[in-house]
Structure formats: structure tokens, C-alpha cells
């Protein structure tokens, strides 16, 4: 089911995380959070990273594991009333792609794998000759180097 289209899904919560573009939106949202935190002048970069992690994990905990039921009425007389969103995902099937994605995303965030691989690519694999369009992106990569 894709969000915003007509569907016959009894409980849309089960399928929303599989919708088209949901993972990208999630990743971009986390990225936006990080950039906002980086823009606050008195947070240094490690503090901004720590805060990103904390806020992301808290948000994930509250929305996926603390709040129970659905925000809308479902035609199955409230079968999912006592289930958290995580338990509702994919009707309880374990280790589906969405579940793996959401399990791995906090780990990636804490290991800062994305910026590492990004700066690795930028600096090690194509070190000197940067194409013009990527010069702008490389301005950001300086923030990721703080050893």
C-alpha cells in the first residue's frame, strides 16, 4: 500500500513503512535533524552527533515502541489496540525488510557510517580532481573530519 492512495488495507499501520519513498523520507528526516543541530552555533560537532543520536532514538522509542494502537479507527473492531506500532508492522512477521531497516538505522547513526563512507569516497577514492558540482558537497565534508 502506498500512503495517500485508495487501498483495502484493514490496518494501514502495518504497511506504511513499506510504502514508496518511506525509507528515503526517514533518512532525509534524520539528515535534516542533524543539519539543524549542526546549525546551532554553540553545539560542537560531536555534541551535535550525540544529540542527533539521542533525539532519534527517543523519537523512535516513543513512536514505535511506546504508543499503542492506531490513531484512526480500523474496521477490525480494534484488534491492534494493545499493540505498539512495532508489533503491528507487517502483521507480526519478524525480520521483514522494514524491521531490518529500522533496527539497523540507529546502529548506522551511532557508528556514523554514512558520513564515514561519504568522506571516504570523497577523499580517498577520488581525492584531487573534484567535479564542479561536487565542490559544494565537499564543503560539508569538512565537518566530518575532526580527528
Amino acid at each position: 500500500m502506498n500512503v495517500g492512495v485508495a487501498h483495502s488495507e484493514v490496518n494501514p499501520n502495518t504497511r506504511v513503512m513499506n510504502s514508496r519513498g518511506m525509507w528515503l523520507t526517514y533518512a532525509l528526516g534524520v539528515g535534516l535533524l542533524h543539519i539543524v543541530l549542526l546549525s546551532i552555533p554553540f553545539f560542537s560537532v560531536p555534541v551535535a552527533w550525540t544529540l542527533t543520536n539521542i533525539i532519534h532514538n527517543l523519537g523512535m522509542y516513543v513512536f514505535l515502541h511506546a504508543v499503542k494502537g492506531t490513531p484512526f479507527e480500523t474496521p477490525d473492531q480494534g484488534k491492534a489496540r494493545l499493540l505498539t506500532h512495532w508489533e503491528q508492522l507487517d502483521y507480526g512477521v519478524q525480520f521483514t525488510s522494514s524491521r531490518k531497516f529500522f533496527t539497523i538505522s540507529p546502529i548506522i547513526l551511532v557508528l556514523q557510517i554514512v558520513p564515514t563512507s561519504f568522506s571516504l569516497y570523497m577523499n580517498v577514492l577520488s581525492p584531487t580532481h573534484l567535479p564542479p558540482g561536487q565542490a559544494l558537497l565537499s564543503c560539508f565534508s569538512q565537518y566530518f573530519i575532526h580527528v
Binding site: P46, E73, Q77, G78, K79, R81, L82, G92, V93, Q94, F95, T96, K100, T103, I104, I107, I108, V110, L111, Q112, T116, S119, M122, N123, V124, P127, T128, L130, A135, S138, C139, S141, Q142, F144, I145, H146, V147
Partner: protein, 485 residues
């Protein structure tokens, strides 16, 4: 690897074209403390494990071996497609009625006085009602061919809803196209899994199906026993105090009928309203038999007792009894009724009421509003026949004196339900041969939760004269004497 755990000495602000050296990265790895590297290594390994783990469902599957499957298939005996039924099953021996089931009914070719149809106000054969239905038939055709949300809403539907709301003095009313589906859709629209419904033991089949569809917790209290209900409510209160968070999200409902179809008794509404406010439950009142019967103007049980109608959260009735139309309605506050426009399954997913029946119901309401005297007349006739039928040998009258639909049960059961049913059927047949059309109260024996004892249901209508009532009483008495003694 990237955090400056040491002080900042190597914070290099690189320029736009970076010359970041691979060697520095490797050096950073050497200088990082061991626990850090180990932790990160574990996390990376865990990512790899998660990426490659298989998807599985939570339910355990007990896979049978091939041999066990064969054994099960061998053992299985198929049930017959058509179960054996005795030849004198009532569904196979039905009476054929020619003409309308009005005051004089022609059953199997014999003219009888109708004491079986729920035509309390005689509106079934009323010429004004028929004229209104015919005019509507010429204007709109027969059916609506669509549910309310899909080109099935006509102005007569909206008119009827307005008229019913005005008549019952509530804010809004909603129409269903099938009387049984009215309460069976209304209950599951509000009560879901985890909610608690207190219901009377003598609730009719439609209420039972509504409760089953709602998947709520059902607590039954003895028929019209307010002490039993209070006990159940108190127990629930104690449970609630143990877990207040859960109690805050469970809804509690009390479902009662105004005039019970199975027993002909009236529910004690004033005490119920007191219990409602004491224990914070909501009342659903099913007024199928009491609408157009009780109260000075026929507004039902609330008028009969003089209770403010806003105290009752939902009143549901079907228009198939007093109003002599088809379908049903629910009325109450706008806030409550509006919810059913999207959640009432019978409203959203069934074709709407044919406009000619809606017009007939409107005309029926007009007649009810113009002659409020018929209700007192009906009550008088009920009282008369109740008195006349007391003291029949072998049969006892079950029902209140102002109930127009009451039951005659055997005083002493023979022990088997089948024999009782046959005995009562003999009485009914004999009465019919003498010109009084009666019927037994029929139930789906296997489906009813609390099966009432077999009985003959006698219905009093406004059209029956006093002589006819006397004749009926004496005929029943005589027949009972013959059959039971």
C-alpha cells in the same frame, strides 16, 4: 575513530580541495582505545547479521508428517450436505397467507382475525399510508440501487430522519434499511474489543448478533434484575481501580430493550439511569416494540417513565412493528448519531431504504402525531385481554399488562422442548380453525444464546374490537382446555 577523545590537537580544518591522507585514518585506528574498537566491531557484525536474517512468522507451525496426514484423511467422515430434518419441522410446514396480513388475515384459505402480526397501530392497511407509498412509487420507482453514500440518499430519507428526530425530540436520527441490522450495526459501531457491555439475559437475537460482531466483553445480568446488574457494575469498578490506566480507555455500555420481545416485560429505566450516572456506563435502549406503543404520544419508554431523553445515549428501534414500514432508525445526540454515518456497517454497506417505504413511514408518523389517542386505546385493549386470559388451565400469561405482544407459556413443561412445541402447535392450529390466527414464538434453537421456553405469542392491535378480543380469549381458553386436559 572520529571523536576527539584526546584534546583537539589534530583538528584540521581542511580546505575545499581536500588532501586527506589514508595514513591518518589508519593512525587513528591505532590510537583508538580497545573497547571502542571492539564495540564498533560488534555493532558492524550485528548489522551484517541482521541484514542476512530470515523473515519468519510468529505462530508455531506444527507440521504433520505425511503418515499423520494420511491417517487424518482416512479417519474423516464427511457430514451430509443436507442434514436430516424431520418432516414436521415448522419451516417445512408453513402457512400461506393470501392478501395483506392486516386485521382480517386469510390463512390457508381460511379467514381469521390476526393476533400474530406486529401491526400494533393498524397502519399496515391504512389507506393514507398506502396512498403515500403509491405516490412515492410513481415518483421514485421501487428501489434505490445504492447505499447511502453512493447515490442512494433521496430527499425522503432526509425527510424521514428529520421527522423521526423531531418526533422523538432528539437532535438527529439515522435510518437503516433493515430492522434487524439496525441494532446489530449500532452496537459494533461504538463498542470494540476491550470494551465492556452489560446486557440483559432476555435480549433479542439482533442484539446478540450485534454483541457478537462487536467482539467486546459481554457481561450478562439476570432479566430485569437491577441488583444483579449493580453487582456486576461494582465488580467492574473494583477491577478498574486495580488498573486505572486501562479503565480510562475502556468504554462501558448497558444494552436493554424497552419492551422485551422474548418476555413481554418492560425494563426499569429510572433505576438504570441512576446506575448509569453512578457507574459511568452508557445506555443503549432498543425500542423496537415500545416505539409507537408506550408513552402518551407513543415516543417510547422514556416518555412512559418521564425520563429526559438526553439521559439515554442511543435509542434504536425498527420501523417494522408500529410504523408498518421496513427498516429501522437510531436517534440521539448529533455527536453520537453522526458517528454511525461512517461506522454503521448496515448504513454504509447496504442499499438504502426504498423511497416508497420511507414515504409510508412518514405518513405513519403523521397519523401517529394526529391521533395520539390510539396509544391509550391500545393500552386499554391490552389490559382487557390480559385480564381475560388469566386463569387458563395449563397456560400462563408471560408479559406485562400494557405490553401488546405477550406470551402464553405452558404452566408445566412436559420435559422435552419438542413435545412442548408440538403441544403449543396443536393449540395454535385449533385456534386457527376457529378463526383466531396465532403463532408460536420462533427462535433459531442452535444460535440463540439464552433460548426462551416455547410459547404462543399473542399480539394486540388497535384495530381489534372488544368483541373480537373476548372471542379470542374464550377461544384460547376452550382450546387450551381441550388440548391440555
Amino acid at each position: 575513530m572520529k571523536e576527539g577523545r584526546k584534546e583537539v590537537p589534530r583538528l584540521r580544518m581542511a580546505t575545499a580541495t581536500e588532501q586527506w591522507v589514508l595514513v591518518e585514518m589508519v593512525q587513528a585506528v591505532y590510537e583508538a582505545p580497545a573497547y571502542h574498537l571492539i564495540l564498533e566491531g560488534i555493532l558492524i557484525l550485528w548489522i551484517i547479521r541482521l541484514l542476512f536474517s530470515k523473515t519468519y512468522k510468529l505462530q508455531e507451525r506444527s507440521d504433520l508428517t505425511l503418515k499423520e496426514k494420511e491417517e487424518l484423511i482416512e479417519e474423516w467422515q464427511p457430514e451430509p450436505l443436507v442434514p436430516p430434518v424431520s418432516k414436521d419441522h415448522p419451516a417445512l410446514n408453513y402457512n400461506i397467507i393470501s392478501g395483506p396480513p392486516s386485521h382480517n388475515i386469510v390463512v390457508n384459505g381460511k379467514k381469521c382475525i390476526n393476533f400474530a402480526s406486529f401491526n400494533f397501530l393498524g397502519l399496515l392497511d391504512n389507506p393514507r399510508v398506502k396512498a403515500a407509498a403509491l405516490a412515492s412509487l410513481k415518483k421514485y420507482g421501487v428501489g434505490t440501487c445504492g447505499p447511502r453514500g453512493f447515490y442512494g440518499t433521496f430527499d425522503v430519507h432526509l425527510d424521514l430522519e428529520d421527522r423521526l428526530a423531531q418526533f422523538m425530540k432528539t437532535e438527529e436520527a439515522i435510518i437503516y434499511s433493515y430492522g434487524f441490522a439496525t441494532i446489530a450495526s449500532a452496537i459494533p459501531a461504538y463498542s470494540k474489543r476491550g470494551d465492556i457491555v452489560f446486557v440483559d439475559r432476555a435480549a433479542c437475537f439482533a442484539i446478540q448478533k450485534g454483541l457478537q460482531a462487536s467482539r467486546s466483553d459481554i457481561k450478562i445480568f439476570n432479566h430485569n434484575d437491577m441488583a444483579d446488574l449493580e453487582r456486576l457494575l461494582k465488580e467492574q469498578e473494583i477491577e478498574d481501580q486495580k488498573n486505572p490506566r486501562k479503565a480510562r480507555v475502556t468504554r462501558r455500555f448497558i444494552v436493554v430493550e424497552g419492551l422485551y420481545m422474548n418476555t413481554g416485560t418492560i425494563c426499569p429505566l429510572p433505576e438504570l439511569v441512576k446506575l448509569k450516572y453512578k457507574y459511568k456506563a452508557r445506555i443503549f435502549l432498543e425500542e423496537s416494540l415500545s416505539f409507537g406503543v408506550l408513552g402518551k404520544h407513543g415516543r417510547g419508554l422514556t416518555e412512559h417513565y418521564g425520563i429526559n431523553i438526553d439521559d439515554i445515549d442511543l435509542i434504536s428501534a425498527n420501523m417494522e412493528n408500529s410504523l408498518a414500514s421496513i427498516g429501522g432508525f437510531c436517534c440521539g445526540r448529533s455527536f453520537v448519531i453522526d458517528h454511525q454515518r461512517l461506522s454503521g456497517q448496515g448504513y454504509c454497506f447496504s442499499a438504502s431504504l426504498p423511497p416508497l417505504l420511507a414515504a409510508a413511514a412518514i405518513e405513519g408518523l403523521n397519523i401517529m402525531e394526529e391521533n395520539p389517542g390510539i396509544f391509550a386505546e391500545l393500552k386499554e385493549k391490552c389490559r382487557q385481554i390480559h385480564k381475560a386470559l388469566q386463569g387458563i388451565s395449563g397456560l400462563k400469561v408471560v408479559g406485562e399488562s400494557l405490553s401488546p405482544a405477550f406470551h402464553l407459556q405452558l404452566e408445566e413443561s412436559t420435559g422435552s422442548r419438542e413435545k412442548d412445541v408440538n403441544l403449543l402447535q396443536k393449540i395454535v392450529n385449533l385456534c386457527m380453525s376457529r378463526g383466531i390466527a396465532l403463532t408460536q414464538a420462533r427462535y433459531l434453537d442452535k444460535e440463540e444464546k439464552w433460548l426462551p421456553p416455547p410459547s404462543i405469542r399473542v399480539v394486540v392491535t388497535v384495530e381489534q374490537t372488544e368483541e373480537e378480543l373476548e372471542k379470542a380469549a374464550s377461544t384460547i381458553k376452550a382450546v387450551a382446555q381441550e388440548v391440555l386436559l
